[in-house]
Symmetry: C3
Subunit: 341 residues, 3 copies
């Protein structure tokens, strides 16, 4: 119906929900998983706009909507329409025939929320890290905008990961130890999911060890924010340059490959950096360094390169639970964001 | 269910509805916008076949169907299936592995209507203007065919535009003055929407001024038909070569860029024609020449080239209402076309 | 809901249903066509994964789900996500960033069944004929996997074809004569549908004549299986090298072009083989050789090359019924596979 409250409630990063709201979403997700009915979204539509590929997010989001009685309007920018201008005030004599402002306002007439997976340009990190695309959508949309993974954040993944951590470690995460470790891949992905997980875990009171090779540091502002969260939570956040060191004594190992920001947009330099790294694969020996440690990975995962088959398919792997919780947490989130005001 | 009345009721151009039917659709659209329930399309499906990109049409049509309880079967020719032959009686030894006849008859078994956005070949206007693609669909389909913008007509846009004109000017459009003006763009679109608007406005009894640079004339048969409509309605239809002249004294300015038909299929000549034009941008000064004039544009719009930001985002702009009315008028139309016979 | 029975009931080839189950599906399909309600699939989703194009299968499957109250999650591998690894135990340092195992297990959390149209590599028949892709999906999925046409089988087409044969010949097919004939096309398709039809007809007790030019033999294991089915049914299965011979005395002529397996993956050799063939077009003269014979073809069909317009559009053609029965049989199959256990 395109209900247009004065200020739509966006979900661009996990911190857009306060800790009580996160608890509410996770609690509701748990009840939904048990078969409780969620919000009734009959006649309501969420537009899903993909400027990049997606398997889990696309599928779990569309199914979440259907199970709540609503509808997903699936739009692939590449095949369904055209490029969009995001800069304000320019003379639009370039390639893009339409401005995000007009697309956002028009779509707001049709849908009850817009979920966006933008495609960062991939050339200059200092520009992409501003997430201008999704902020332009949020600025002009009359309905809530949900981030389905921007350059900097992947809050939907973080919600599912938090639920999985609670499932595995018991409800209270305070004082539990999380190792986040870089893994090797010929085509690493975005650090967005790791950024979101890092801040979510620290806010939940977990002790976090972050391991990666030299040159693969996360965005410095994200690290500053992580240190702030750690301080507020009174927990330790340490960075190390060895997977083993990070995993030692941890309860959960969160594995994920990401590209080096320092050579962002430079494939040659990135390839040479990656070529220098060996190891950085989570195997049974690594996992045994933890304290009864479980393995998480947001997928897609390159088997026997990032993590061994033995670990991924073993009893300590939580990767399928993570994927499954995407559905339940997104149903919880939609119930919160789209409830009648 | 693929209900197959003997002669399906197609909607290929606005004139396929008589004026009372247009009134019915617009009246129903108004009530639907107020929250009245439309036809119940539960268990019914409309196939949307896109041979070209679409944002508003795709989105508003799919949401219209969902809000009425029905379902949109979304098919992108480019990515979902293959090219189709439209000529009758040929030996099919070319590229297309399937004939529109067979695709239309097969799909008629599954859906209750077919909405088509064909892709004109873009080489010879005298051929494309025949709209043979959509006519082949209409000839062979057992269910109503709806034109989602062919080479010559865009009747769905015209319905939304008529509703917007009524909203803005009061119910009766007789004697109100409409300026349709060409605007500058490096990649002009099809004149189909303007063709439909022109005839719709004249049939509704509006006085119309049409402005464009020399060499950008609309299709001559469309112009003939426009003169006929003007005569029947007893109103004036004039063509001028200056935006200011057209806008002077008008109540609504309808802006839109279109390519020169005289160099259709010749990008070099078209580019040189476009390069010669300057101006042709609607700004506050232009709009002030009208009589309390409002601005319409069917979008996508190139900001600050076709129309200035100031006008588009100002209080006289109707572009978002136009987009919104796509939803309501299409729900009205579907209610009319798919009502149980 | 992703209900996960211990061993999901897959439908990879027609023989995965015993003859009584096929009867059940066809009987239910007949009642569904009469307007009887099928299973209630409210809140349930089937993921449709297309690694190749599709028109009838995609459309009829999605509409079948909607008419039963359920939902189709439509995924195009080419545009929506990425390539998938299917080999077990490899170090995933190649192009594919994800393993079918992980995709299958993750999607199993969201959907109630997975329907797959894999894309055989198209280079080595001995490899493609193993249908490793769809078997990998079946191995790892926690929900039923439905084959939407693999290299070797197209069981959904066979279900619709069986229903059409029953409609045309009366309920009992025993002893009725089917001619399956190769037809000429510049771009022949897969023999998968013909393989499935051949075995289905023999199991149903039909006498089958199979005609094709030399060098266009079906897969030898399929032919072995066909001979076994013929023996079990006590009917004749003969192979001939002339369309006329096959059609003589038959009640139904099933036409379809397929590529020569002996030059599979070798376009040059295939083209030269095809160039040598002339004729192999079903026309009125051919059809008159049968016994009141009807024409079937699974489409897409190249008109006036495979079959003449006169036959396709004449009273003896069953091609539209075949297409229509795709909807009804798939609703029947879904009702069987997704019934609450």
């Amino acid at each position: 119906m395109g209900s247009s409250p004065a200020t739509p409630r966006h979900f661009l990063r996990l911190q857009d929900l306060d800790t009580r709201e996160v608890d509410d979403v996770l609690d509701l997700a748990g009840r939904l998983r048990q078969g409780v009915r969620g919000a009734d979204l009959q006649g309501r539509t969420v537009g899903l706009l993909f400027f990049r590929g997606s398997l889990r997010t696309r599928s779990s989001f569309e199914v979440a909507l259907h199970q709540l009685g609503g509808h997903a309007l699936n739009l692939n920018a590449a095949s369904d329409f055209w490029s969009l201008e995001e800069r304000t005030g320019v003379v639009m004599d370039g390639e893009a025939p339409e401005h995000i402002r007009d697309a956002a306002e028009a779509l707001s007439c049709y849908v009850d929320a817009l979920a966006i997976r933008p495609a960062p340009a991939g050339r200059v990190w200092e520009r992409d890290r501003l997430d201008t695309g999704i902020h332009a959508w949020a600025q002009h949309s009359k309905v809530p905008v949900i981030n389905m993974e921007s350059a900097l954040w992947h809050p939907l993944q973080a919600l599912a990961d938090l639920m999985t951590l609670r499932d595995a470690l018991g409800g209270d995460l305070r004082g539990r130890r999380l190792a986040i470790t870089w893994t090797r891949s010929p085509a690493p992905g975005s650090p967005a999911g790791v950024n979101s997980m890092l801040l979510a875990a620290l806010r939940a009171g977990m002790e976090v060890s972050l391991a990666h090779p030299r040159g693969f540091d996360l965005d410095s502002a994200v690290l500053d924010e992580a240190r702030g969260e750690a301080q507020r939570s009174g927990v330790e956040f340490q960075q190390v340059d060895s997977m083993d060191t990070a995993v030692e004594g941890s309860h959960v190992v969160y594995a994920r490959s990401w590209w080096p920001l320092s050579s962002y947009g430079n494939p040659t330099l990135t390839a040479s950096r990656l070529a220098r790294e060996t190891g950085w694969c989570v195997d049974e020996r690594t996992l045994a360094l933890g304290e009864d440690a479980r393995l998480m990975h947001p997928m897609p995962v390159r088997r026997n390169l990032e993590v061994t088959d033995e670990v991924l398919d073993g009893p300590r792997s939580l990767i399928i639970q993570q994927a499954g919780n995407r559905l339940h947490t997104q149903k919880g989130l939609l119930s919160l964001l789209l409830r009648p005001s």
